[in-house]
């Protein structure tokens, strides 16, 4: 029982948490861009699957991880264009289109997997890269500075996304079309173009989220590899109050509790496994319930824009 409080165990939990948080961070930051521009994309999980498949397949046949990453980006972009076409240009109901996109991604990735790969295979993906000096610090180095490039990328994405949204003219325009598209339009901001770009950025990041599973963390692909992680990512956007820093804490909370429960089981702490498994979800729901008091979602979320209607 006392084992839980050993330094090595705490370090192990944090190392696991950082790995587990990675796909959530990519996907949830991507969804933040989408939602900040006023589009709810519930198809994140489907896009992750397509991204995971595309990158895995390319690495399998070429052995080049960078080409694999590029494949995930292109796959994400195509899915993003499809979502934008349906929800922005054709103004379809966003929730339904997103679910449609999810099913499309799930079906297509399974089909392609069966026809081109067929059975479970593994690849050599992104390997851990120890950062010089920092990586040699005892304990801390192992926790934070000995991961694959895609893990570092996910954490660098947080300040980058914050900077884009809060400090650039472009971020201001994204937020404006999500808050009051008519006002943005009246100032010459091209609402549809901003939404297309934001949804596509979101989809590209979802594609990378998939790649972070299939060619970095797991190095394998199978049907429904993501197992609904994309939906948790969407929930994290609400949890994080549409802010990158909020999403970081949400993702870390979820993944730390998950890592914690795995360690509890490994160390043989006497609690039923069912309870341990429930822990991260219960805690996340509890935190979400507390957090909803301060939630302020983009005012034009889920609303198509048509000029002259107000």
């Amino acid at each position: 029982m006392n084992d839980v409080f050993q330094l090595s165990v705490i370090a192990g939990i944090l190392t696991s948490a950082i790995r587990l948080a990675t796909p959530y961070l990519y996907a949830a930051i991507g969804e933040t861009f989408s939602q900040r521009s006023g589009v709810v994309n519930l198809g994140v999980d489907g896009i992750m699957l397509i991204g995971a498949y595309a990158s895995f397949y390319i690495v399998l046949i070429t052995g080049n991880i960078w080409l694999g990453l590029l494949a995930a980006i292109i796959a994400g972009l195509l899915m993003g264009l499809l979502m934008s076409l349906i929800s922005v240009t054709l103004k379809a109901e966003q929730g339904i289109s997103g679910i449609g996109l999810y099913m499309f991604g799930l079906g297509l990735s399974s089909l392609l997997f069966k026809t081109t790969i067929g059975t479970v295979k593994t690849v050599t993906g992104f390997q851990s890269v120890k950062i010089p000096l920092l990586g040699d610090i005892p304990v801390v180095g192992k926790i934070f500075f000995d991961h694959s490039l895609l893990v570092y990328g996910a954490f660098l994405l947080i300040p980058l996304a914050w900077w884009v949204l809060e400090k650039t003219t472009w971020g201001l325009q994204i937020k404006s079309v999500g808050q009051n598209p008519a006002a943005a339009d009246s100032l010459g901001v091209n609402v549809d173009r901003m939404r297309y770009t934001s949804v596509c950025i979101g989809a590209i990041l979802a594609g990378i989220a998939g790649a972070s599973l299939s060619i970095s963390l797991l190095n394998l692909f199978q049907e429904n590899l993501t197992a609904g992680q994309g939906f948790i990512a969407v929930a994290l956007v609400y949890f994080g109050n549409w802010k990158p820093q909020g999403i970081l804490w949400g993702a870390l909370l979820f993944s730390t509790v998950n890592a914690f429960q795995l360690w509890m089981q490994v160390l043989g702490v006497k609690i039923p496994s069912d309870i341990a498994i429930m822990l991260p979800y219960v805690l996340t729901i509890a935190a979400l319930a507390v957090a909803t008091n301060r939630v302020r979602q983009p005012a034009a979320l889920n609303k198509p824009f048509e000029r002259g209607e107000s």
Binding site: T168, K175, N180, A184, L187
Partner: protein, 520 residues
């Protein structure tokens, strides 16, 4: 992506011509061969009733719509605007009736939106703020660049809109009903600013339906009716009555209600306290009474508790504290239906949301309340022939223009819907009538009719609470005027004693005692 740079000098607009503009909407010809022109340094008023086509015409000049036919010339060169960005580039700005602002952004962010930054791609809000302060000083537009929009009053928000246009170097600015949401003092401030802008070489188009404002600010006036130009002439050469005739198409006689000897107290409100939608206190202890045969006008800038008061009196909002007495009977905790039975009638502010059911027919809407009255039922069945006869009678009596009794009410004009709701409410001979914004969005003809009806009801002994943002309406109709500010009554004045200035000060939150000192 964004339109032109903020600091670059734009062309000076010397002359704009809109020639033979035709604009169709499904089923409506909104602009019918409209010709309109404006020269530098002018304030050109565009006058007309709701639906006359004023806003549609200006939205085409601002690039929000494209004309189906006709052309726009600026300094004698033809222009085609595909979007507001093109119009902004050409030096045109527009202050919309519903502000185009983003509440979660700061003033500086609202101004910078859509513009290139000097440090692209990074925002340069410090520079933007500095220029906003300069413009504020120059034109008397006092506003803090770092404040969030949701923290600002309506008047301040309008200043932000004007700064946005000036910041973009607009030399022609379109103002769409800019005074509709302002207190009289704020209107004065606005006019001071507008005059400074004109002096500086700006050109203004002023859309309004308030005649005295048009007479005060404009140098030329164009009247539109049913999508067509009725006439254009220098303001100095035309009278108010002539303008009304041009707008409505016939003579309109001003009302001059005779003082009545008011009867006993009908409605009494004591220390009424009510919560608003956001959980804040909307009414913080309101007291007043209305006598039989009296109209009490409730003035105030919208959002100061008027809606909550009306809903509370009607019985659709819960009272947290206080009492409402109707003919000395406590109705505070009675539900809507019981209040109606006792003799309360309610004309709601949002007539299409709270007063009628869009897809129901005219006849069905007449019987929204009375469908279970024994007059129209046989046991559990409705007596349709009697209902039809009654609906027919109301429609005729109140001059409701409708193709038939079975027409869905959503197909009627605003004025006719309002007349129908009024007919329904007044047909029960109520003891107390709550009329919230009864003429908002209603044309002059229907307004005139509704006003006459209210006065007639007053003569029949009904106690009427008239809630309106139109101070002119309140001053003409009311026997006494109460001013509501942040959920409190700032003061009650007799019609003959009230000056616009005094009421305006109370609307801005200054107590009656203080206003007496200031105005004397």
């Amino acid at each position: 992506m964004a339109s032109g740079a903020s600091t670059k000098e734009k062309q000076q607009i010397k002359r704009v011509e809109m020639c033979n503009i035709i604009k169709y909407f499904p089923g409506v010809l909104a602009n019918d061969r409209v010709c309109f022109d404006i020269n530098q340094g002018e304030v050109h008023a565009l006058l007309g009733e709701n639906g006359a086509g004023k806003s549609t015409l200006m939205r085409q000049l601002y690039g929000l719509y494209r004309p189906d036919e006709g052309e726009i010339l600026i300094n004698s060169k033809p222009y085609t605007f595909n979007s507001p960005a093109d119009a902004i580039e050409a030096g045109i700005g527009m202050i919309h009736q519903h502000f185009m602002l983003i509440p979660t952004f700061t003033v500086a962010e609202n101004v910078a939106l859509g513009l290139k930054s000097s440090r692209e791609p990074v925002l340069d809000l410090d520079k933007v703020s500095a220029r906003i302060r300069k413009l504020s000083q120059l034109y008397g537009l006092n506003v803090d660049p770092s404040a969030y929009l949701w923290q600002l009053s309506v008047g301040e928000q309008q200043r932000v809109e004007i700064i946005k246009a000036l910041y973009r170097g607009a030399s022609l600015i379109i103002l769409d009903e800019p005074t509709a949401v302002l207190t009289p003092q704020e209107v004065n401030d606005l006019f001071v600013t507008l005059k400074r802008m004109v002096k500086d070489g700006h050109t203004l188009i002023f859309i309004s339906h308030k005649l005295h404002e048009v007479m005060e600010i404009s140098s030329r006036v164009t009247v539109l009716r049913d999508g067509r130009i009725i006439g254009t002439c220098p303001t100095a050469e035309i009278t108010r009555n002539e303008l009304v005739k041009m707008m409505v198409g016939r003579e309109v006689h001003p009302l001059s209600p005779q003082p009545l000897k008011s009867g006993p107290v009908r409605l009494e409100i004591r220390n009424l306290q009510v919560m608003g939608d956001r959980g804040t206190e909307a009414l913080r202890g309101v007291d007043f009474e209305i006598h039989s045969g009296e109209i009490v006008g409730l003035a105030g800038v919208s959002g100061n508790g008027q809606r909550e008061l009306a809903e509370c009196l009607a019985g659709v909002r819960k009272t947290t504290q206080g009492e409402i007495l109707l003919d000395n009977e406590d109705i505070t905790s009675l539900p809507l239906k019981r209040r109606v039975d006792i003799g309360l009638a309610y004309i709601p502010e949002e007539r299409m949301r709270d007063g009628a059911i869009r897809d129901f027919s005219v006849q069905e809407n007449v019987f929204l309340h009375d469908h279970s009255s024994t007059k129209y039922t046989h046991g559990i069945f409705l007596d349709f022939s009697r209902m039809r006869a009654f609906a027919n009678e109301l429609v005729n009596k109140f001059n409701v223009k409708t193709p038939s009794l079975d027409t869905p009410i959503k197909n009627l004009s605003g004025g006719n819907i309002q007349k129908l709701i009024m007919a329904r409410e007044l047909s029960r001979q109520p003891k107390v009538l709550i009329a919230a914004q009864p003429t908002r969005g209603v044309d002059i003809g229907a307004t005139e009719y509704i006003h006459q009806r209210l006065l007639q009801q007053r003569e029949e002994g009904t106690a009427i609470l008239l809630i309106s943002e139109d101070l002119d309406e309140i001053r003409v109709l009311s026997d006494r005027i109460a001013v509501l500010y942040e959920g409190r009554i700032m003061g009650v004045v007799e019609r003959n004693e009230a000056t616009v200035e005094q009421i305006g000060l109370m609307m801005a939150g200054i107590s009656m005692a203080e206003t007496m000192q200031r105005t004397s």
